[in-house]
């Protein structure tokens, strides 16, 4: 008899909810066939069987959650006897062909797993089992400091392949920072797939169950707020030349074989990327006993969705031209709205931009999107009376506020970084050179 366990589908996942059993007790199951649909932090995933046989017993009914590694069903021969203790209580399953190791110090070994291991001594040796992982998957996991031992491989022989690591990373990175909105005007119409929570009236209030996305937002931003001491530096940027440049670029870009419209946000992405390249001490993660300085620059852009927010990433933004950034941000925003983001679109961000400019917001502060160390909150561009050469004239101004994690970045560094951003946006030809 083999135990099907709740797989770990991402670093941030702690439990999964069975939305639907695709196979039912008594059904013949082949290795690789979908058994059930499971709701995790962000996405719904069909879990596949790793064994062939008959689905003998469902341990976790539809609508119920189970922690990672807990048994959710038993597969065996049609006439095989059910283990007595499971037949009787139907609770968490035994460890069988698990790849979950206990005691690896990462905190992933849940209490359930530990309990099971102590109850059942024999399979503990399986903890020594070799994990099959492709070289590139191992490399990516190590690069992002992801504990791949917790990942369920989908390759041949259960091998963990790159895609599995990327999916796990996407889960870890999926949810982001502060309030934010995309650089796209239209309201979000199409929610990402997933059941809408059912609101329940309780007295004079309505209780709305958390979606997986809302839970993840709450947990990660809560952690960020508690763990990293935020401080803020604000700068006012004259956008006159930036607007002129944008107009010229767009006159050119609309005649491009692949026409594209460049937004202010796209130019800000480019400016931030170049500033990070020049000041790598801002492109860092705080890792308790060390700072990790990233050699590549990947800019996340917070995109508001009806049910929460998500931060797709423009990779290597420093190396991309402005038109390329515009195309990529259009693609990502569209994919975010239609729930079609690829796992790789969500991983690797080293800095996030949150832009509420279209909501007539003067300025605001944003919560850092871990493991990043800084985030830029961008307000509206507003005609403002300013003094130039002793005369009051009207100029377009934009307030931006940098939130920094003081564990990693000091005030002067943040100020110099913002100064560089300001310079790049006020003398914007540099964005094209």
């Amino acid at each position: 008899m083999k135990t099907v366990e709740m797989p770990k589908m991402g670093d941030t996942m702690e439990e999964g909810k069975i939305l639907r059993w695709i196979k039912h007790e008594g059904d013949q199951v082949k290795k690789g066939e979908s058994l059930a649909e499971v709701e995790t932090d962000k996405v719904n995933i069909e879990i596949e069987s790793f064994a062939s046989g008959v689905l003998r017993k469902i341990l976790v009914p539809e609508g119920k959650s189970a922690p990672i590694g807990a048994g959710i069903a038993l597969i065996g021969a049609a006439d095989e006897a059910l283990p007595a203790e499971l037949a009787s209580n139907g609770a968490a399953g035994k460890k069988s062909e698990t790849r979950v190791k206990e005691g690896n110090g990462t905190g992933y070994a849940t209490q359930t797993v530990a309990q099971q291991a102590s109850v059942q001594a024999a399979p503990a040796a399986l903890g020594q089992e070799r994990i099959f992982i492709s070289p590139i998957a191992r490399r990516v996991a190590e690069e992002y400091q992801l504990d791949y031992q917790q990942i369920q491989g989908t390759g041949p022989n259960g091998r963990i392949i790159k895609m599995d690591v990327e999916a796990a990373l996407a889960q870890r990175q999926a949810v982001a920072a502060a309030p934010a909105v995309p650089a796209i005007p239209s309201p979000v119409e199409i929610p990402v797939p997933g059941p809408a929570p059912v609101a329940v009236e309780v007295g004079e209030a309505v209780e709305i169950p958390l979606t997986a996305m809302r839970r993840t937002i709450a947990r990660r931003l809560g952690q960020s707020w508690l763990a990293s001491p935020h401080f803020y530096v604000t700068s006012v940027i004259d956008t006159g030349k930036l607007a002129d440049l944008r107009r010229q670029i767009n006159e050119y870009a609309e005649k491009d074989p692949v026409p594209v419209k460049v937004s202010f946000n796209d130019l800000i992405v480019k400016a931030i990327a170049l500033a990070l390249l020049r000041m790598p001490q801002v492109n860092v993660s705080f890792a308790e006993d060390k700072l990790i300085q990233k050699s590549r620059v990947h800019i996340g852009m917070a995109v508001a969705l009806e049910q929460g927010l998500i931060v797709p990433v423009i990779h290597d933004a420093d190396k991309r031209g402005v038109l390329d950034i515009a195309r990529e941000s259009h693609r990502l925003a569209e994919a975010a709205r239609t729930g079609k983001l690829h796992p790789e679109d969500l991983i690797g961000g080293t800095f996030t931009i949150s832009n509420l400019g279209m909501f007539d917001v003067d300025s605001f502060t944003a919560v850092i999107n871990p493991p990043e160390s800084a985030i830029l909150a961008v307000g509206s561009i507003t005609p403002t009376p300013v003094v130039v050469d002793g005369q009051v004239v009207v100029r377009d101004r934009m307030k931006v506020t940098l939130s920094s994690d003081h564990r990693a970045i000091d005030g002067a560094t943040a100020a110099r970084f913002l100064q560089e951003v300001k310079r790049l946006l006020e003398e914007p030809f540099g964005l094209l050179l």
Partner: protein, 332 residues
């Protein structure tokens, strides 16, 4: 650009090189009055005469040995062996003489020798005349082995081979002579380097490395794969030795998966040689084991049906790619 057959592109290359350099001459069996077994040298005897277009006895060792002597003496011979299968009769000349001279005489002599010969199967020539032996020669330091797949490359690489100071084995394919492709106009002078592969199709899911006739089969397979959402990157190796390893590694870094499609046999063949290099230099980028698409491990059958079954085909390539590209990756 004009459209030429592979055969005509070869003839143009020979003719242009003979016009450019009076030291260039050709010799082989039935290449003069008859115009060559595959009609590559048709008309050259009439244009250049018997001094520079010479028929030989049916004796591959003699043809090759004579050419080696001529090359040492300062001429630039192009010899035609009727098929690579007959080159075994000249293997001592090729491996022990042509490949070794420069090394054994302190780098003093050049060996500007070109050996043209078709290899491969598919035309019902039977077990003795259908072999792909490029890996034998590619094993030997001192030789260059090239296998162009298109008329453009056939012309450009043959001209480069004639100008090269070292022995070049220029391996053609009987089923390529009639294929057509774009070739620059006659007044456009060009050569194609003997050490560079070429990306024939861009893709991100899997790299398919191939060469010679199998390039065309692979490109069809890539079309089929594209219909299922699998974006294959197709690399035409062009040169079997030296190997353009940087090109391969760059592609592997992008796709993390490799299929090698070649007409020769699997064991100790070019595919296994390439696979070993890829594992050596790009191990950390691999997401799946390398797949090999090759001929069946048997002497080539004469029967048309069996020959077709023994040769690698489009579906073999499609299936090899699908075996290592996860469906979920393609959906993503």
């Amino acid at each position: 650009m004009r459209t030429l057959t592979y055969r005509d592109a070869l003839r143009e290359a020979i003719r242009e090189e003979m016009l450019r350099d009076e030291r260039v001459f050709i010799l082989g069996e039935d290449i003069a009055g008859y115009g060559g077994t595959y009609a590559v040298s048709k008309g050259l005897f009439e244009e250049f005469g018997e001094k520079r277009v010479r028929d030989t006895p049916l004796a591959e060792e003699v043809i090759t040995g004579a050419a080696i002597g001529a090359a040492l003496g300062g001429l630039r011979p192009i010899i035609e062996l009727m098929t690579i299968n007959f080159s075994m009769l000249a293997s001592d000349q090729i491996v022990n003489q042509a490949a070794k001279f420069r090394y054994m005489f302190g780098g003093q002599p050049e060996m500007p020798l070109v050996i043209r010969m078709p290899g491969g199967g598919g035309a019902q020539r039977g077990a003795q005349h259908s072999q792909s032996l490029e890996s034998w020669y590619a094993h030997i330091p001192g030789l260059k082995v090239v296998m162009p797949a298109t008329p453009y490359d056939a012309k450009g690489m043959l001209k480069a081979a004639v100008r090269d100071p070292d022995p070049v084995l220029f391996i053609e394919h009987e089923l390529l002579y009639n294929i057509k492709g774009e070739v620059p106009d006659e007044d456009v002078e060009y050569t194609v380097p003997l050490n560079r592969g070429e990306v024939r199709r861009q893709g991100r899911h899997v790299t398919i490395i191939t060469y010679s006739r199998m390039l065309h089969v692979t490109l069809q397979a890539a079309e089929d794969l594209a219909k299922e959402g699998i974006e294959a990157e197709v690399i035409d190796l062009r040169s079997i030795r030296p190997i353009d390893i940087d090109l391969l590694i760059d592609s592997v870094k992008k796709t993390n998966r490799v299929v090698i499609a070649q007409e020769g046999w699997k064991y100790y063949g070019t595919g296994q040689g390439l696979a070993a290099l890829i594992y050596e230099y790009a191990f950390d980028y691999m997401d799946a084991p390398i797949q090999h698409v090759t001929s069946a491990d048997v002497p080539m059958p004469y029967s048309k049906v069996l020959e077709r079954a023994a040769l690698p085909n489009k579906n073999d390539i499609v299936n090899a790619a699908k075996a290592i590209v996860p469906a979920a990756l393609v959906r993503a």
